[in-house]
Amino acid sequence: MRFSGAIAAALLAAGVVGAAEIPQAERRSGYDFMKPDTKAMQDEDTANPGMLWVLDGEALWKRKAGGADKACADCHDDARTSMKGVAARYPAFDKTTGRPLDLEQRINSCRTNQQQATPLPFESRELLALTAFIARQSQGAPIETGADPQLAPFIAKGRELYMQRQGQLNLACANCHDDNWDKKLAGAAITQAHPTGYPLYRLEWQSLGSLQRRLRACISGIRAQAYDHGAPELVELELYLMSRARRMVMEAPGVRP
């Protein structure tokens, strides 16, 4: 996705700098902005291509891997119980590193530490599948990310990034997603950027993708250098967005245009 310089000019001209955050009662998922056909694609399991990754994830969950020759299921049993609500509180604080980890990183930490296997690359089919399978166990659950007080400084950093103008277009995420969420851009609804559906199937990608992939696309969109997958800045942004969406309902695997 690319945006033209004229947006920046218009936003500056309109003087929309650091406007108010969205009140609780007005928060809306990206789902609400979609056309009925796209909603229908998300609503029904057999129509939702994201479910194909969920199925793959379920198979991987049971597959033994690594030097430990253990499957996720060997330690976590039935994901329907053990992973229920887990995705709804990620990114979460990790004691070992003293930093927040997103769900993908958490899965990879089990890959390396528990299974003694190599970490799965970001956006690989396997990592997306496992993430989708785990996130699916939180479908319908309210987002709880950010409750842990140890996360506070990281949420603050993520918020700073979100509010900060950047890139050639000199735009902040907030300029679009807080100040102009009810407008359209290139025919697409801007939306409030609530990460309720990730990992999700984007028609544009013709594939499932992670929240980091979506954020990187928005960052390139404002012509800023996108952080690498797994960069602390991206995790902090994810963390801020998830905590900003607290009590909204998890939809993964979502579908978006």
Partner: protein
């Protein structure tokens, strides 16, 4: 997805009062069908063997506004009995501008009970979509729509 090469660059939708935006975000609008170019005609000829194709019986549904040309829901329904002695044999869907004129062929029979199929198709550019049904009596029926895929915003500025 690929950028449509020759699509008309339409006026963009404003953001915050007159802003421009860009990105490969096609908007699809349906308007009544126009003439049939040669490739499409040849592909149809392949199916009909030159038999007359009548307009009617076939309903071709594509949402008036789709959010992304990569995945456009499409439903074809043929209003015709599905009895052993009189039924729909097949439904053929074509497009005009993709390198290849065929989209799909659906082979049916009386056991289907209802001649209705759905799938999702790619529409990277404005073009005509034609659906033709072949009946057990050898007759052909069709419906067509012109689908306009626009880049909804300016794409002048590309890095």
């Amino acid at each position: 997805m690929q950028q449509p090469t020759n699509s008309s660059r339409r006026k963009f939708l404003g953001l915050a009062g007159g802003a421009a935006a860009l990105g490969a975000l096609p908007v699809v609008i349906i308007r009544p069908a126009e003439a049939t170019p040669a490739m499409l005609a040849a592909a149809i000829q392949n199916v009909t063997g030159g038999a007359a194709v009548r307009t009617g019986k076939v309903k071709l549904e594509i949402p008036p506004l789709v959010e992304n040309g990569n995945t456009v829901p499409m439903t074809v329904t043929v209003a015709h009995p599905m009895a052993p002695e009189d039924h729909v044999r097949s439904i053929h869907v074509f497009n005009e501008k993709n390198p290849q004129p065929n989209i799909a062929n659906f082979h049916l029979g009386p056991h289907n009970g209802r001649a209705q199929v759905s799938t999702r198709i790619r529409l990277a550019d404005s073009q005509k979509i034609v659906a033709i049904a072949k009946l057990s009596d050898g007759s052909f029926w069709s419906a067509s729509v012109d689908v306009v895929v626009t880049l909804a915003a300016c794409t002048e500025e590309v890095i």
